[in-house]
């Protein structure tokens, strides 16, 4: 089977709203940049995969069709909520590995700036029969988990604040980031409480923007600067959060779907000592608690050692750098966020991450997280080809 590489990355800047561009122009802009980075034109692309999550966020029904570029190409739209971006990338890698394409353009757009009430929209993702009558939103879902982590593993509000402040400070070095805040954990704790224990400066922003990448089969990569997809895995879990709270094999905060994805992706990539073999990590962590849940799932530490792992990141330079781009707290264009994680890892591996570049990156790992922490993806990118 052919190896697949990321040979081009394009990102618009992420911001609250791009009033100066139509949805299609945003898609086009990111795609154009990715093609230029790959030194290709649209004629070289065999198929297009477009990722858009809830359309209610943009108020447009088939906005992904704006990704129709070139003539007569296979085109599919992917919608897997928070993991839409990474699912779209994986749809592309699969298409290439099936032998049906040599080069695939993958693009994801978030247009939520057009929505006037996004948390109301997020409420409509829940089951209309049993759950819609409650104020369930992405924020309260995260809060339910954060309180569980505090009780089970000893995390404190200070840990959540440290993680958030680090991400916002990292975002200052990312020109595409939306929210760049040079703040401390104290500033986070002093910000208003949204839903205990989540403070305003822990929540991610609502961002618009597009991300695109060119994926290529090994025989057309040539001498291009490539980040090889060494591992890619995706796992879905039960929707019912209540079913997972006391599940013997993994509770709600154990992120079983992320662990299973990591194990498969790491095996494909030949990773058995993740802390030594990975230099940069881009986590889909819209909230600090989501980052904490990812540590044990990625085999960085045992669940009960999580709080210490947060502290060690600030003192041990040998540990992988987490969210050098600022992560979703720096910008959260929902439909694109999981693709942005992979794009940022590709830039790290290719040595093209500018001011946010981590030194000597051989491997970088991107995660995706969506639904009711129900959909999880892990993508390993590296300098070397792995078959």
């Amino acid at each position: 089977m052919t190896a697949v590489a990321v040979i081009g990355v394009g990102q618009t800047n992420y911001r609250r709203a791009h009033k100066d561009k139509s949805s299609r122009e945003l898609i086009w802009e990111a795609s154009k940049m990715a093609l230029e980075d790959a030194n290709m034109d649209i004629g070289g692309i065999d198929a297009i995969m477009a990722g858009i999550a809830p359309e209610a966020l943009s108020g447009e029904g088939s906005v992904e069709r704006g990704g129709m570029m070139g003539v007569g190409k296979p085109f599919l739209r992917i919608n897997t909520g928070g993991v839409t971006g990474s699912s779209t990338v994986f749809a592309g890698t699969t298409y290439i590995q099936s032998g049906r394409a040599k080069a695939v353009l993958v693009v994801a757009l978030e247009r939520m700036g057009q929505a006037t009430s996004s948390q109301q929209v997020f409420n409509t993702i829940f089951d209309p029969v049993y759950e819609k009558d409650f104020p369930l939103t992405t924020i309260t879902m995260a809060a339910l988990r954060a309180s569980m982590l505090m009780r089970m593993y000893g995390y404190t509000e200070q840990h959540w604040a440290e993680i958030a402040a680090r991400s916002f400070r990292n975002a200052c070095r990312n020109p595409h980031a939306h929210l760049k805040l040079d703040i401390t954990a104290d500033d986070v704790l002093k910000s208003p409480l949204l839903a205990w224990p989540i403070h305003r400066y822990e929540a991610c922003p609502m961002s618009e923007g597009a991300c695109a990448m060119v994926l290529a089969a090994e025989d057309i990569v040539g001498d291009r600067n490539a980040a090889w997809v060494q591992g890619a895995a995706s796992t879905s879990d039960s929707y019912a959060m209540g079913d997972r709270i006391r599940r013997p094999e993994a509770t709600l905060v154990d992120l079983l779907s992320l662990r299973l994805s990591a194990e498969r992706a790491f095996k494909q990539a030949g990773i058995d000592r993740p802390l030594e073999q990975i230099q940069a990590v881009e986590l889909y962590s819209a909230f600090s608690s989501a980052e904490a849940m990812a540590y044990p799932a990625l085999h960085f530490c045992k669940p009960e050692d999580g709080p210490r792992f947060v502290e060690a990141q600030f003192s041990d330079p040998s540990l992988p750098k987490i969210n050098p781009s600022g992560g979703p707290q720096g910008a959260n264009p929902v439909s694109a966020t999981a693709m942005v994680r992979i794009a940022e890892c590709a830039l790290q591996v290719r040595g093209m991450a500018g001011e946010r570049q981590v030194a000597d990156v051989d491997r970088a790992v991107a995660t995706g997280q969506g639904g009711a922490t129900q959909f999880s993806t892990v993508c390993v990118l590296g300098k070397k080809k792995v078959h």
Binding site: A53, R65, N79, T80, G81, S98, G99, Q374, F375
Partner: protein, 357 residues
């Protein structure tokens, strides 16, 4: 083209067309069909590591449908992906997973319940809010313009073809025989040309292990973004998709025994038959009226709801090849071509050729 050493086979299928059954919520409606497809494949989930779905949030009335519905389709701890595209597109994506060696068995499923949502209102959202939506455009209006463009060039009307189509649907035991409704027809369409909106769920188990039905060819293509940039009286993307599928299957239209063409209206089906090369330009309606190989299922008259129709067409083809179609069985077909189209107004097309193995 696909890896030479991997072939894709159909292991089990299930299909439901019904109307406003209040006994089951959407998840339960989906579960029944997926469970039936699993049972048709022998009942076991062993070795199924992949689930590929086609569903639309606005059709399902859940802003992230697959969050609630995917577990009903077998997503639990499996590699599940949801396409916001037609079921035939999801079928194609599932095929690439098998060909890439990612799995050995996969579920493919698609559904939509016309009885739960406002079909016309959802159709209006598909058009861009700047230039098209303020006009109140619906996909059926595009089909009307397509029909008009075709009629102006070729003349004739759909009366005989519509009668044949209704008779075929009446013979199809899986068709929606009670309930459903039709939208208002816009000129030159008449009610008999329109799809019968129903509740539709379709599911299939695909495998790399040989069974009686094999995938012989697969092709996909797309139309330009702007509807004004398209040639409405032809279905260019469908022509390209079918050409790709037939090249892969090394066959010509004359060597195909069954055609199951997905189109929103009777005219879309007729133009589709011309696009794939079975009928000459201008004779698509004649083919539907007189050739029993064309849409033996009854097409859109048998029940319709996006985004499941491409998968329905594929399943109808499988049942024909297996000799299990029932009242609408065509004598011993060996090879079938099924197509699926998606928004906006047939913008993306998938063509699939299946053969008796």
């Amino acid at each position: 083209m696909a890896l030479e050493n991997v072939s894709v086979y159909v292991e089990g299928v299930a299909l439901e067309m019904s109307w406003a059954d209040p006994r089951r919520n959407l998840s339960e409606f989906i579960f029944d069909t997926v469970r039936n497809a699993l049972d048709d494949a022998g009942g076991s989930l062993d070795g199924i590591t992949s689930v590929v779905l086609a569903a639309h949030d606005l059709v399902d009335g859940r802003s992230l449908s697959s969050m609630v519905t995917a577990p009903a389709a077998g997503a639990y701890l499996r590699d599940e992906i949801r396409y916001g595209d037609d079921g035939a597109g999801a079928f194609a994506a599932a095929v690439t997973r098998l060909e890439a060696g990612e799995c050995e068995r996969t579920i493919v499923a698609a559904w939509g319940r016309s009885s739960e949502h406002d079909v016309d209102a959802v159709s209006r959202t598909l058009f861009d809010p700047i230039f098209a939506r303020p006009l109140g455009l619906e996909e059926l209006h595009i089909s009307g313009m397509r029909a008009q463009d075709w009629r102006r060039r070729h003349g004739g009307d759909s009366r005989v073809a519509a009668k044949q189509r209704a008779a075929a649907a009446a013979r199809n035991p899986r068709a929606l025989h009670k309930g459903g409704f039709k939208s208002a027809a816009s000129y030159p369409l008449v009610e008999a040309d329109l799809p019968l909106w129903g509740d539709v769920a379709a599911a299939m188990i695909l495998t790399t292990k040989p069974t009686g039905v094999r995938l012989a060819g697969l092709g996909q293509s797309s139309e330009p973004y702007w509807i004004g940039d398209r040639t409405l009286h032809e279905a260019t993307a469908l022509r390209q998709a079918a050409e790709r599928a037939m090249r892969e299957a090394r066959c010509k239209p004359a060597e195909i025994d069954i055609f199951e063409i997905d189109g929103l209206t009777l005219y879309d089906e007729a133009i589709g038959l011309e696009a794939i090369g079975l009928a000459k330009p201008g004779s698509g309606l004649d083919a539907l009226a007189g050739n029993e190989k064309c849409n033996p299922s009854g097409g859109g008259a048998a029940g319709y709801c996006a985004p499941s129709m491409g998968l329905v067409r594929i399943i109808e083809s499988v049942l024909q090849i297996q000799g299990r179609a029932g009242g609408n069985q065509i004598a011993a077909p060996r090879r079938a071509l099924a197509t699926g189209s998606s928004v906006v107004a047939g913008q993306t097309q998938t063509a699939v050729i299946l053969e008796a193995a």
